[in-house]
């Protein structure tokens, strides 16, 4: 048996190593908020199945200032696609029929949206329009898992962003429903701060200066790492926490849970004042939990 697939896997591994070793270009890291950013698309529930197919989504969008976007700050557009062609084409819909590329009213987020019903409406519309494209399964009941795509487009006039969230639709209820990771505690410069899911900014009381790095720590509850099974067998989630800031540089953009810890360094500071910190915990299966904004004071250069 020739191992072309193996060779490809090796090449991918080699590329990952090379990327890790390569000199990084001087781009602004992903953890630094410079303009409009979508930090998370929070879905509830995280998984659907027949009889349990309504879902609500909300976006966690941050303005260039670093503060959460409020209604009126941005223009938002949500859409739903039950049959997407996948990542290679940016999660484009297999069909442009309105029932298949379903658009929510501008500014309105999916709330209690019956995704299964819309998928079936899409199938019906496709059938009525002359046939199903090959990418669309004719019978949903034959599909063990269908990744439903919710797309979120937002702009503040200067920057436009698009984001997608995948909500799996199972043929039957999963043995252990997926839940988002739970943040037990956030600690900034060694002190615990109050939980904050995109509410008003919480003052951490910490100052970032050249004298010392500022440690940011997110502690997840132990049961945030849920067991699950897929085609390759049983697994346990490995939650990851992404960190964001409007000033300074983190030593790493992300850290693995359950005790995710990074250092905010006094780098690339052009002026002093307030800065905002966020953290987003992910189970990498669609579950997201946001902490922030937290205010810190940045010493002037």
């Amino acid at each position: 048996m020739r191992a072309r697939s193996g060779a490809t896997a090796r090449a991918a591994a080699a590329m990952a190593v090379a990327a890790a070793l390569a000199c990084a270009a001087s781009f602004t890291p992903r953890s630094v908020i410079e303009n409009l950013r979508v930090l998370a698309l929070v879905a509830s529930p995280l998984e659907l199945w027949p009889g349990h197919s309504s879902v609500t989504l909300s976006a966690r969008t941050v303005l260039a200032s670093g503060l959460p976007a409020a209604a009126g700050d941005v223009q938002e557009q949500w859409s739903f696609c039950p049959f997407s062609v996948g990542a290679s084409v940016g999660y484009a819909c297999a069909s442009t029929l309105p029932a298949c590329d379903y658009r929510f009213p501008p500014g309105a987020a999916p709330a209690g949206f019956d995704a299964l019903a819309q998928a079936q409406a899409c199938l019906a519309a496709l059938g009525a329009s002359g046939g199903l494209p090959p990418t669309v399964p004719p019978d949903l009941s034959a599909v063990a898992r269908l990744d439903l795509v919710f797309r979120y487009a937002v702009t503040d006039g200067a920057t436009a962003r698009e984001a997608v969230q995948i909500v799996p639709l199972y043929r039957t209820a999963p043995a252990v429903p997926n839940l988002p990771p739970a943040i037990q505690q956030v600690r900034i410069c060694g002190a615990a701060v109050a939980a904050n899911d995109f509410g008003p900014a919480v003052d951490s009381g910490c100052t970032l200066s050249s004298a010392a790095d500022l440690e940011v720590e997110v502690i997840l509850t132990p049961d945030s790492a849920q067991p699950y099974a897929d085609a390759s067998g049983a697994h346990v989630e490995a939650p990851v926490v992404s960190f964001y800031t409007t000033a300074g540089r983190f030593d790493y953009d992300r850290a693995s849970g359950p005790d995710a810890k990074v250092k905010l360094e006094y780098k690339e500071i052009s002026r002093g004042g307030d800065a905002w910190l966020y953290a987003v915990a992910r189970d990498l299966r669609g579950g997201e939990t946001v902490a922030g904004p937290y205010r810190i004071t940045v010493a002037g250069p």
Binding site: G6, A9, G90
Partner: protein, 864 residues
């Protein structure tokens, strides 16, 4: 007349000359006195004949002259009648003198009237000691010698050797096969002169003792010659384009660091691989459509770690045979081209070896005769990147190695030649690449975290036998057992593990039925048992731009099974006219993975129009079963068809002048039944994962100008114009192939300035690879990655690549070994060649990703 004896007082002298030890010469001297007597003697006797006195050999003379006084009675006729001793000198002088005196002859003494009368005289006979005997000639010097090439100890046969002195040749000889000669020189001081072609003249003074027997070894310095003897004995060409790259010739090509297999990348028809890839892209075909064989056994990996070094060390390489397309029916299951690594037999003259150290690795090799019929060799090489990488890796790197990248490879071989008709060879070789690293933090894609393990190994044991039944019939066969293992994993959830055991067998019969008709046929058998476990993203195929790992659908399976791929082939060679060869052939393959037979007819024609000019053309069908991952149950589509390639080539070979040869070949390939992914399979469980819907077309022309001027200068200029396109699905737009490089120019030159210095250079100018532009990005919230939005596939092109590599070699030659050092500087102009783009996390900005900067590589090699 009375016989009155007159007394004459006569004293005569005689000398005994010492020239001959047994003889003397008597010499008469003047009479001393005449006694008074009557009648009166008017004329005394006069010595007429002197007879030398003979003393025994070895007689010791008390003085240089010995005198004996005798009294002689002379007759009237002058004869000596009586001799009496008057004053002796002792024996043996007295006896010798008396004996000589008896034979003296005189003119008789005469009276006044003239009458002769008897006379008695006193005679002084002087015996002179003979001169000392000349010394005997000195015994000759026996000089046994051996002529060897300095540094390699290679015997130099058939070399004229002479001993000379004063412009005169005293002795001559010619060295035998073992370089030995014997001279018998009748002088102790002389000059030894030997003149061997391609070597410096040997001219040494020799000072020996007379009769001395010497046994010496003489080392002659090899010198690159302005000329080289070329024996044209080309075997039948079964391919329209087959470049044979002698290992010795390319060992010093710049940019290869002495790695012979890398020289293939300088041949026409070969696309330049990216700097981190070791793909073999021949005539616009995908890397997986071409293969490398070591003595007929396909190896899964040609280069360690994506192109650093080849997995078969160059020590035992004889040559590389490179066929970019239209290859012979011996090979199949491929639609691209092949590279055949030819292994030489171990040396039989003496124990030899080498030790090699360079930036990447260190290795040793030994070889030599075991007996008259057996010879064996072994080589081992290990990288030492793992020793230096931790030292240069930044402390805050996202990656830390628990087992830094390391590789090793080995080769053992033994050859048995019982007679001129049989040869058996056993070859055991293998390679392993391994690294274990820890991603300290979630990387750009957070699913890439934890321990990264990459281990790839293969081991092959081959037995080969060839037998010549008669000048017209021969058989070549081989059987190989192989183990292969791939183990790649990232964390606990991403893994690809494949273990396989293989049996490869080949048997080829050649029969020269008639002078104008030759038939060849054989079988090519493969069996593989495999055990595979994987959970990986479905790998994007060629022409499919990548997306973050966490966004790709995964395939998972765990299965064991076996694959059987028997094949048979037959080829005829008609030579209906002088210089014209027509080779029709047919190959039949069965692939158990898809349960299908395929039949590939092929045809080749070569016509030597006139000396130095050959016209050639070929056409053939080439079919290749899908990759096992594409046709395997659970993860692939078992009912796929073999992929097809119809290959056409035509060209001319022209010898422009002695040592300069030009080859121009045009080619066209039509691809069909190419396996492509079915995007519907990710959503529709009833859809096939793969389809035979892909098509392609490839065309171009290759030019190769090779030049060799003696042993001092050689090089080549290779230029390829080629275009390669694909259509992934019916109705889809045709697109460029990932490695569509229209212009590929490579110039290579090496100058051996002397036996100690050589210099080389390589210049490459290659079109940039196509790439797919990014038009935007979508944020993928589940895993916090950005997914690029792409434009039309491969519509943009990277910058043109160019690089100049230079190399200098210095060799120190000692009598019994050689030390070589080389400095191979890649990209001496430090040109930042673009290999791709590096994007900002949200794809809103980008910068060029450049390849290797100027990179000096120093190597040392000792050979004995």
């Amino acid at each position: 007349m009375p016989t009155t004896r007159l007394a004459a007082a006569l004293i005569a002298g005689a000398a005994l000359l010492a020239a001959a030890p047994s003889s003397g010469v008597a010499r008469a001297e003047e009479p001393a006195r005449a006694p008074p007597a009557e009648p009166v003697l008017a004329a005394p006797p006069v010595l007429k004949k002197l007879v030398p006195a003979e003393v025994p050999p070895g007689t010791v003379f008390p003085a240089p002259e010995v005198t004996v006084v005798l009294e002689l009675d002379l007759s009237a006729a002058g004869a000596v009648e009586a001799v009496r001793l008057v004053q002796g000198a002792g024996e043996p002088f007295d006896a010798a003198a008396m004996a000589a005196a008896r034979r003296l002859e005189f003119e008789p003494g005469r009276l006044a009237g003239g009458e002769p009368v008897p006379v008695t005289i006193t005679f002084r006979l002087t015996i002179t000691a003979p001169p000392p005997a000349p010394p005997p000639p000195p015994p000759p010097v026996r000089l046994s010698g051996r002529l060897l090439e300095r540094g390699t100890r290679t015997p130099l046969p058939a070399v004229p050797v002479a001993a000379q002195a004063g412009g005169e040749t005293l002795a001559r000889a010619t060295s035998g096969d073992d370089g030995r000669f014997v001279l018998e020189v009748p002088a102790a001081s002389f000059r030894l002169v030997a003149v061997a072609p391609g070597h410096a003249r040997l001219d040494l003074p020799v000072e020996a003792r007379p009769g001395e027997e010497r046994d010496e070894t003489y080392y002659l310095d090899a010198e690159p010659s302005e000329y080289t003897a070329v024996v044209e004995g080309e075997r039948v060409r079964r391919e329209i384009t087959r470049q044979v790259i002698p290992a010795e010739e390319v060992a010093q090509v710049a940019g290869t660091q002495g790695d012979t297999v890398k020289a293939v990348l300088n041949m026409p028809g070969v696309a330049r691989p990216p700097f981190i890839g070791g793909q073999l892209v021949l005539r616009g075909s995908s890397p997986g459509d071409s293969a490398v064989f070591v003595e007929g056994v396909q190896v899964p990996l040609i280069y360690h770690f994506g192109g650093l070094r080849s997995t078969f060390a160059p020590r035992f390489l004889e040559a590389l045979e490179f066929v970019p397309g239209n290859f012979a029916p011996d090979y199949g299951r491929l639609t691209g081209g092949i590279v055949q690594v030819k292994v030489r037999d171990p040396k039989t003259d003496m124990l030899r070896g080498e030790a090699d150290l360079n930036l990447f690795d260190a290795g040793v090799a030994v070889e030599g005769p075991l007996s008259k019929r057996w010879s064996a060799g072994a080589a081992f090489r290990r990288s030492w990147i793992d020793a230096i990488l931790p030292a240069v890796l930044p402390k805050d790197s996202a990656l830390s190695f628990s087992s830094a990248p390391r590789f090793y490879d080995y080769q053992f071989l033994a050859t048995w030649k019982p007679d001129d008709r049989d040869k058996a060879r056993f070859l055991f070789f293998g390679s392993q690449d391994k690294l274990v690293a820890l991603f300290n933090r979630p990387a750009g894609d957070p699913t890439i975290t934890g321990t990264l393990q990459d281990k790839m190994a293969f081991h092959e044991l081959q037995g080969a036998w060839s037998h010549v039944f008669s000048p017209a019939l021969r058989h070549d066969g081989s059987l190989s057992l192989g183990l292969q293992g791939f183990d790649v994993s990232v964390g606990p959830d991403l893994f690809f593990n494949l273990q396989s055991r293989r049996i490869d067998g080949r048997s080829t019969w050649s029969w020269q039925a008639l002078p104008w008709l030759e038939a060849r046929g054989g079988i090519d058998f493969q069996y593989a048992w495999y055990d595979i476990r994987l959970n990986v993203p479905r790998q994007p195929q060629e022409g499919t731009p990548g997306t973050p790992v966490s966004t790709q659908p995964r395939v998972a399976t765990s299965q064991t099974g076996s694959l059987v791929s028997p094949a048979a082939f037959v080829e005829l060679r008609f030579a209906p006219a002088e210089g014209l060869d027509l080779l029709p052939s047919l190959r039949a393959d069965y692939a158990s993975a898809i349960g299908r037979w395929s039949f590939d007819p092929r045809f080749l024609a070569r016509w030597r129009v006139r000396p130095g000019t050959v016209l050639k053309a070929a056409a053939g069908l080439y079919q290749q079963p899908p990759d096992p991952g594409e046709s395997a149950r659970d993860i692939g589509t078992p009912g796929l068809l073999p992929q097809r390639s119809v290959q056409l080539s035509a060209g001319v070979e022209q010898e422009l002048r002695e040592g300069v040869r030009l080859e121009v070949t045009g080619f066209h390939k039509e691809l069909s039944r190419q396996v492509v992914q079915n995007p519907a399979a990710d959503l529709n469980p009833g859809a096939a994962a793969y389809l035979n819907e892909g098509r392609g077309r490839i065309y171009g022309a290759e030019l190769l100008l090779r030049a060799r001027f003696g042993e001092r200068i050689f090089g080549w200029l290779a230029y390829t114009y080629q275009r390669s396109f694909r259509t992934d699905h019916p109705g889809a737009a045709e697109r460029r192939f990932d490695y569509d490089q229209p212009h590929i120019l490579t110039a290579v030159a090496t100058w051996k300035a002397s036996a100690r210095w050589s210099f080389g250079g390589r210049f490459r100018l290659v079109s940039g690879n196509p790439y797919t532009p990014v038009t935007g990005a979508v944020y993928y919230a589940p895993t916090d990655v950005w997914v690029p939005l792409r434009g039309a596939v491969n519509t943009d092109r990277l910058e043109t690549f160019y690089a100049l590599d230079l190399r200098a070699d210095r060799t120190w030659i000692f009598d019994r070994w050689r030390l070589s050092a080389y400095l191979d500087v890649q990209n001496v102009t430090n040109h930042g060649n673009q290999e791709g783009w590096q994007y900002k996390f949200d794809y809103s900005d980008r910068t060029k990703l450049t390849g290797l900067p100027i990179l000096p590589i120093l190597g040392l090699k000792g050979e004995w």
